[in-house]
């Protein structure tokens, strides 16, 4: 009974002190506004940082999704020894055929060569396209990149070096707009070619521009018509039927390539195999750095808010000595005084957190609109912000509040 009674009494005192704290905050408006603003700035940066980390994560998921969990991408040359001697052209057309014929579980193997900075012309109009890709049948499938219209290359197109192209969305929009490009004859650096398919809009940024700014033609046509050697390919893409066994497939692919390239035991690979796992590892590493860097930034911003709070509360305690002394004379226990200053601090930091989240979301939206930042807002931000600001209120408010509670009433009533 007495325990309950004591608890109810505590709750009632807390409630009454909270009301009084609100009245005090209302009357010390300017000071309250300063604390709110300081905390809001910290929380705004926290909001943007969490949103951008979550945004980066979503982006990473998209990259993985687009890359495909069932695919491997092989680049000529060993990325890890790139600095020593970059040998780009080590993969051959022959490798592609051998993988197709011999690698267990692989159902698709597509080579790629590319030529940069092509002028694409249709009628009177022309457009600069950064990348012309040479590939084979199965290109769209290999990249999980559906066709909006038309068809992919056929084996005959590739064998015969047919003058046909697939347009990605960028050049298609530039030359044809809403109209269909199917069947039209376009000029690829003066080579006339028929459009047989349009790839759907993908909307991903890749190195040096949008992935949609490209066109694709049979690899045979590319090498023949643009005087490129016919033996090597830049990269190749392999798809497997059972993604659960990717580590196993990856090792198989690697030993097949080592075997074909006649690499001795102990020699480094002269190629690099990338799978979704590797990309994920890389992204995780990158994200770790991002989180650490931005985390420190947010922590500093919030700490600054905390120091502003502590300073203004010290000032407040000094200024309100008489109030504190009077309340003690009227029977306020030390705890009641401590509680009032703590409540004032926490109320201010929580209000600051709400403003900060609004500010952060506004700025985050702006940065996202401008394409500077990928962001994602979640409830996590809400809870983290409230927790962080509440903690700041308690931690930085505690010292001044303790000082207030410890004032001797006779001394406090004398004023300053």
């Amino acid at each position: 009974m007495t325990v309950w009674f004591a608890l109810i009494e505590k709750l009632r005192l807390t409630f009454r002190v909270t009301l009084m704290a609100f009245l005090a905050l209302r009357s010390y408006r300017l000071r309250s506004a300063f604390v709110i603003a300081a905390i809001a700035l910290g929380i705004a940066s926290l909001t943007i940082i969490i949103a951008s980390i979550d945004g980066a994560e979503r982006k990473a998921d998209e990259i993985i999704e687009m890359f495909g969990p069932d695919a491997a991408f092989v680049l000529g040359g060993d990325i890890s020894s790139r600095a020593v001697g970059w040998r780009g052209l080590t993969l051959t057309y022959n490798d592609v055929q051998r993988i197709r014929a011999e690698l267990p579980g692989a159902y698709l193997s597509v080579p790629m060569r590319s030529k940069s900075n092509i002028t694409l012309r249709y009628g009177e109009q022309s457009v600069e396209v950064p990348v012309l890709v040479g590939s084979t049948e199965g290109y769209a499938d290999a990249w999980n990149w559906p066709l909006a219209e038309g068809r992919d290359f056929s084996a005959e197109d590739v064998d015969g070096g047919a003058k046909v192209v697939l347009l990605a969305n960028g050049p298609k929009e530039a030359l044809f707009g809403e109209r269909s490009a199917l069947g039209a004859t376009v000029y690829v650096n003066d080579l006339p070619a028929r459009v047989i398919g349009e790839l759907r809009y993908r909307g991903m940024a890749s190195m040096g521009g949008s992935i949609d700014d490209r066109l694709i033609m049979p690899i045979t046509t590319l090498t023949q018509r643009f005087n490129m050697d016919r033996k090597y390919v830049r990269a190749l893409r392999v798809k497997f039927s059972d993604p659960e066994n990717m580590p196993f497939h990856r090792e198989n692919l690697r030993s097949l390539l080592r075997n074909m390239h006649r690499l001795e035991e102990g020699e480094n690979d002269d190629f690099t195999v990338l799978t979704a796992d590797e990309i994920l590892k890389f992204i995780t590493m990158f994200k770790g750095g991002l989180v650490a860097f931005l985390g420190v930034t947010a922590a500093v911003a919030i700490l600054v808010g905390g120091f502003v709070l502590a300073n203004l509360f010290y000032l407040s305690v000094t200024e309100r000595r008489v109030e504190i002394g009077l309340k003690k004379a009227l029977g306020a226990k030390n705890q009641a005084i401590l509680l009032q200053f703590l409540v004032e601090a926490v109320v201010l930091t929580l209000i600051g957190a709400l403003f900060g989240m609004l500010l952060g979301m506004g700025m985050g939206q702006l940065l996202a609109r401008l394409g500077i930042l990928e962001i994602l807002f979640s409830w996590k931000i809400f809870f983290l912000s409230l927790t962080a600001s509440g903690a700041i209120g308690v931690i930085f408010g505690l010292k001044p509040a303790r000082e207030a509670a410890a004032l001797v009433p006779v001394e406090a009533l004398k004023g300053v």
Partner: protein
């Protein structure tokens, strides 16, 4: 135990200033019975402020015993002293000490907040007392909107809220003009006539004239009673 409301026995108080101990109170023996109106007089430096602080449980004596309403307060900790002040003692100060961000009514309610009564009861009684001191129409005013006399009336109402055994008034008219002072002293006398013990601390003999009993302090000792 003692039958007096306030019973001081051999109260001393000394401070250290550097290496020099300063004896402010040098052995005060004093009994005040319930319902008395006592004036505590003395020039500044006589120790009357210190004695008032000790009587009001705002300060502790160095040696000696203090029984308030039969309770030995020497052994009580801060929280118990707070609770005892809250219930037993009403303070009226020279400079009123109203909290500027609260209305008159809220200021009167203040000591109730630290006690154990229900909010509705406290509020009702605060209103009644404000009516009694003649401020029924000023309840929602802040101290900045009230005259000095009105502010002191609010402070007196605040002191009475918890129905204390003793009203301790420290120079209650020190900041007021003579006409207002008379009104305030009349109010305090009236409160005493209703049966409440009043201790008035003042250096002004005219003000002290209202009291039935005058205790003069000089150099830390009671010189006339």
């Amino acid at each position: 135990m003692s039958s007096a409301l306030i019973d001081l026995k051999g109260i001393t108080k000394s401070y250290r200033q550097g290496d020099l101990p300063i004896d402010v109170l040098k052995g005060i023996d004093l009994q005040i019975a319930a319902g008395e109106f006592v004036a505590l007089l003395g020039p500044s430096g006589s120790g009357k402020s210190t004695l008032m602080h000790i009587l009001g449980l705002l300060d502790r004596p160095t040696t000696g015993a203090y029984f308030l309403d039969g309770v030995d307060v020497a052994g009580l900790d801060d929280d118990h002293l707070s609770a005892l002040r809250n219930r037993k003692i009403g303070f009226v100060f020279q400079t009123f000490y109203l909290i500027p961000y609260l209305t008159a009514l809220e200021n009167v309610i203040l000591p109730g907040l630290y006690g154990q009564e229900r909010s509705a009861t406290i509020r009702r009684r605060a209103k009644e007392i404000l009516q009694q001191v003649g401020l029924g129409d000023r309840m929602d005013f802040r101290s900045s909107q009230l005259s000095g006399g009105q502010q002191q009336r609010v402070a007196i109402a605040r002191a009475l809220l918890n129905d204390p055994a003793v009203l301790l008034a420290d120079e209650p008219t020190g900041q007021l003009d003579s006409a207002t002072s008379k009104e305030i002293m009349e109010l305090i006398s009236q409160i005493n006539r209703q049966g409440r013990t009043v201790i008035l601390v003042t250096h002004d003999v005219a003000t002290a004239a209202c009291a039935q009993r005058r205790i003069e302090l000089n150099d830390g000792l009671v010189c006339t009673d």
